[in-house]
Amino acid sequence: AHAAAVVINTWPFANATRVAFAALTASSPQQHLDAITVGCNRCEVEQCDFTVGYGGSPDTNGETTLDAMILDGTTMDMGAVAQLRRIKAAIHVARAVLHHTSHSILAGDGALEFAKMMGFQEESLVTPYSRALHAEWKQQHCQPNYFRNVVPAQNSSCPPFKPAGWGNDSAMYASSPDEEQQRVQALVTQQNHD
């Protein structure tokens, strides 16, 4: 038997760590997968920093969508969901992808249909908090956003946009690539990250 059990995760999400570690001490043939599932799910339920789970990080349409993945380091089996809509327990759906398909990643509406087939409940991921975030963003003329090389100018307008021509570099970038990189990185914070 291996001597040590360890759980490590990004950010100070101690409750997620605690429940994951508890799962490692349970008598299950899949302790390691159970630990990942309950640990990540705890953050989905607690909406850790509003960066995990429902009700956070609304997209340009005001919708919250979820990405999740689970990877077994012994068998290299994996399951993931990308841009999962209207299902709260994204990590559980990812684990269902691992167990019940031979695929690796399901995305978008297909992932939603799979989740419903597996018995997950479809429900809105929008909350008053995420609705307020989106409304505030629209009031600020949809600033900041992640568009570039579009018309009208993305730094003062809301989508929808049309593509700017590709032949004229000065039309493509309102700022230098370095300035553009700094602008985007400034958006990344403890409350806004992947």
Binding site: W11, P12, T51, S57, L71, M78, A107, Y146
Partner: protein, 137 residues
């Protein structure tokens, strides 16, 4: 995002992520959390890693896969995390990201670039999870 790596008492390892992505992302956008090697990666024969930060940048470099390959060379997990982030920073110097790394022996570490990063760990012998703060490299 939460990114997590675990090692159980049988030596089996797993990694996982869950995220709602970036605020005001373009509808349809997928982050690195769903991408193996980017948001997380693990091989029970070596170790595992998980990353957080700017997923649009990180998914271009597969930092978690990179860190696991570093650990395969015998590099300490903390250094493996640092090397994966430095590789990204060589192309994107303003990049913000953080990583956790755990090897199959139970050794662990973390690193951050562009911000002071915190991670949480609980291992055999610890009664409670411990939050570890690391300065930006």
């Amino acid at each position: 995002t939460i990114g997590m790596v675990v090692l159980d008492t049988k030596g089996d390892m797993a990694a996982g992520t869950s995220s709602n992505g970036a605020n005001h992302k373009v509808a349809g956008r997928v982050g690195d959390a769903a991408v193996p090697g980017a948001g997380a990666y693990v091989d029970s024969a070596i170790g595992g890693a998980a990353a957080t930060g700017d997923g649009d940048v990180m998914m271009r470099f597969l930092p978690s896969f990179h860190a696991v390959q570093e650990m395969a060379k015998g590099v300490h997990p903390r250094v493996a995390c640092e090397r994966a982030l430095v590789r990204i920073a060589s192309k994107y110097p303003h990049f913000k990201g953080g990583m956790v790394c755990l090897n199959r022996m139970g050794e662990f570490g973390g690193a951050g670039h562009g911000w002071n990063f915190s991670f949480t760990v609980q291992a055999t012998g610890m009664s409670e999870p411990t939050v570890v703060h690391v300065d930006s490299i």
